[in-house]
Symmetry: C2
Subunit: 175 residues, 2 copies
């Protein structure tokens, strides 16, 4: 991975997350990265290849992020760790940018990409089963759906207090 190739990736991630995939021109990406426009196509083939490269890189990040949660065997601790995700995401600006991009392109290209979340959903389902929930799969999905909603607010509603909301929701699973 050359220096300029990485600069393209970083510039594209930022611009895609800010302005969307289709609305971001390759010209703009090249200017932000400080390279010639042609270099983008040399390295990634076409604009879509660039997007795929960004997505793939992010998926690997996500796996690392989820690993610690999924491995937890104590159900209560697992749920606690799940709620801890938010803080991790908020503290790392590059990670936050990547997740913003994820949601943006979800809506722009209308693909949900559930496989990314599947291990997390399964782990949560198992935890709720151990805790005696009658419908552990639905309870797990409810948590993830709530996460989607939180993300919508966090990224789009100015002044939305995530931490307060997460704290309130988390408390429902504490006792």
């Amino acid at each position: 991975m050359t220096d300029k190739k990485e600069k393209i990736l970083r510039a594209a991630l930022e611009l895609f997350a800010e302005e969307g995939f289709k609305s971001t021109s390759t010209n703009k990406i090249a200017k932000k990265a400080g390279v010639s426009e042609g270099l983008i196509f040399r390295h990634f083939g076409n604009k879509d290849g660039l997007l795929q490269a960004i997505i793939q890189e992010g998926e690997e990040q996500a796996k690392v992020l989820f690993a610690d949660i999924v491995m937890e065997s104590d159900p209560k601790k697992l749920i606690e760790k799940y709620f801890g995700l938010t803080d991790k995401l908020l503290d790392n600006p590059e990670m936050a940018n990547f997740w913003k991009l994820q949601y943006k392109i979800k809506w722009e290209l209308e693909i949900y990409g559930e496989h990314k979340m599947e291990p997390l959903e399964l782990a949560l389902t198992n935890a709720f089963k151990k805790l005696g929930y009658k419908k552990p799969d639905l309870e797990a999905r409810l948590l993830l759906i709530n996460m989607d909603g939180m993300a919508t607010r966090y990224y789009l509603q100015e002044g939305f207090n995530v931490k307060e909301m997460v704290e309130y929701f988390r408390n429902k699973y504490k006792q």
Copy 2:
């Protein structure tokens, strides 16, 4: 409102909801509506004016939709009516299209437009207060956040079973 003007509005709503605002060309709208491209600009000034017209029309629809819920004085019934929203939205395809557009442009243009939901949030807050909830405002917001999450899944995740999820969530507020 002339016949052709309305055809433009309908075509634009559909295309914006399907492909997004920026990605839909005025040329395409004109072809779908069966009018000349220039007529769009005669009636709406520019592409943004067309979007505004669609949004405004939809906001009026939303007010009508929420009115029945907001007016309800019995807290339990109010919450029940809130959960009934889903069925109403799913049964009316034009309404479904409008809400899809709402979420799409939220992410595309990064504006949340909370004022539209405010009366609903206030009404729910009041209902939870009457029912003795310690933090009725947060509980109300939780419901709306959940709705955002459900919408994300419903519109983007193929094969997502909304009714089952809504039913499960609704049951938490029944007793």
